[in-house]
Symmetry: C2
Subunit: 184 residues, 2 copies
DNA sequence: TACTTTATTGACTAACTAATAAGTTATTTA
DNA sequence: TAAATAACTTATTAGTTAGTCAATAAAGTA
């Protein structure tokens, strides 16, 4: 039964994106899971090991998202993407990319590499989706798709951060404005 | 002589924006300053006290920036603002807003309040500058100035974060694209 | 000159941290 | 059934953390 092992990743992810990588400890997880901290070390010997597993989970999760979205048209796919970020915002979490970027300098190389790969994966999905949507006349934007993707991603990533400071209306405004501008 | 006291804030700010609030310790500062950690506690009794001083420093710093920029036209003011973020990116730091947002839940109320005030101050400066620039036909954008301001700020904030992961070209591309689109 | 304030050190503490080693129990597997 | 493996606990360690307190030295003030 891989029950505990999986739950650790979910709790780890929640703690990382709610409180930050350096703010959480194995004790936080073990308390919530009602096991001793040594049990966490049994499944994930070191903190970087756990961090890697968290990034892997996000990779799988995003691939499932892309798979699920692939049945819709490009305008709806972008909508789904922004709605995904809206759910992050509502749950009080942050985008993984932003969370790991802030604690980048305390991250092991192995973790950094996985985060980089994940980020490039997300960016290329947005870029391709924008490009295809433009060709089908479902989407409009003037800059190259890659740069439009960078702007949308940074809007969402820092949008969830900003919402903590100035409130969730700011996030919603950003999200709606993006959709208004790119959907024909 | 307030030499040490001021240097502590500068070092604290650098550590917060390079490594994160929860990743730095009084020991890091005391080593660099060649004083004992008790000396840091003399000037800033608790970590939140230091964090408040760091935010105050940013408030002063931004006010000086706005004052200095006020002699230029609105297009140049926005350019200056983006260039300011470019210098943050180059120095390997992050935007204060993003740094504090990520560690928001480990922040004292007193610090949160100061960060909120600072962020609203920055946002209203961008909004006003965009608005004035539009009226003078120096700037063009279709959404309300406030929302355009939110988008530019989140682009810059997460742009410095993303640059750590995927490289500084992405930041430069975002920056140039913003300028191309809003400057007439 | 005597007192007070400012800036600092030295010495310490209590709490927390990631991580380890040895032992325990239950479940597979051969 | 015996051995092996998986999933833990108990107990502990070495290091770090923010924060305190008493002592000190220098500079300013009355």
């Amino acid at each position: 039964m891989a029950r505990t092992k999986d739950t650790i990743v979910l709790l780890g992810d929640e703690l990382i994106r709610k409180n930050g990588y350096n703010a959480f400890s194995y004790a936080d997880i073990s308390k919530q899971l009602n096991v001793k901290n040594a049990a966490i070390h049994y499944h994930y010997p070191t903190k970087p090991d756990l961090a890697e597993a968290v990034v892997d989970w996000h990779t799988d999760s995003f691939n499932r998202f892309a798979e699920k979205a692939s049945s819709k048209n490009e305008a709806d796919q972008i909508k789904m993407f922004l709605n995904f970020y809206a759910s992050i915002q509502v749950s009080g979490k942050l985008c993984v990319i932003g969370s790991f970027a802030t604690d980048w300098n305390s991250m092991e190389d192995s973790v950094q590499e996985k985060v980089t790969e994940f980020t490039e994966n997300v960016l290329s999905w947005i870029t391709t989706t924008l490009d295809n949507g433009k060709q089908k006349n479902l989407l409009t934007f003037s800059s190259p798709a890659k740069i439009e993707a960078l702007k949308i991603l940074t809007n969402m990533c820092a949008g969830t951060q900003l919402a903590r400071i100035t409130g969730s209306n700011d996030f919603t405004d950003i999200k709606n404005s993006i959709l208004e501008q790119i959907i024909t």
